[in-house]
Symmetry: C2
Subunit: 119 residues, 2 copies
């Protein structure tokens, strides 16, 4: 698996990790120290801010998990990929989104902008 | 039309403007003074660099024009939209891409990352 695929897989695992300590470790693996995240509804600055944001999203969507819908599309230090937020009970996607990111020199994500696909 | 729609329409007009002077004026309307552009094949730094890049792309694709394929999707200072590069003779799209941008405080584009859709 490429370095970019690995960081994106880790990013998705971060969103799904319910254990606070393991989640913080995944955030640190995924995001550079000065990283930012911004989507239409949520934002987080730095690993601690992003961790708190992810914890809040998990509280809003119990019984759901994120799945990667596309392989990462990468050029230079830029990446995009699409994800589904699926119900663990029905398997149905309740949200579909596309994330655009830039990569830091060490291969971690420096910033991510999320967009939601039309329902 | 919203300010973001206007800047995106101007951006598309810039890609299609064959007159050097009018194109430079459209670049200046579209991009902030410190703007950058990066896609899988082309890049430009600052309005002069972006103008030179656009001129080069026009030379590579005579008889083609860019058309907006989707309305801009905007949140905060982020925007994305999809475009087609179409043959003026057949109307067929030879390339489809999605651009992701951030907006400067004055509403012009500060940076644009382009991705190509799979054929």
């Amino acid at each position: 698996m490429s370095a970019v695929s690995t960081v994106v897989e880790t990013y998705i695992a971060m969103w799904n990790e319910g254990d606070a300590e393991r989640r913080r470790a995944l955030v640190a693996q995924t995001f550079a120290d000065d990283a930012t995240y911004l989507d239409p509804h949520f934002s987080g600055d730095g690993p601690a801010g992003i961790d708190a944001m992810v914890a809040g999203v998990q509280e809003q969507f119990p019984g759901h998990r994120f799945e990667l819908a596309t392989e990462p599309d990468v050029h230079h230090d830029r990446v995009r990929f699409t994800w589904n937020l699926v119900s663990e009970e029905s398997g149905a996607a309740v949200y579909v989104g596309t994330d655009f990111g830039t990569l830091a020199g060490d291969g971690r994500l420096r910033d991510v902008t999320g967009f939601l696909e039309p329902a």
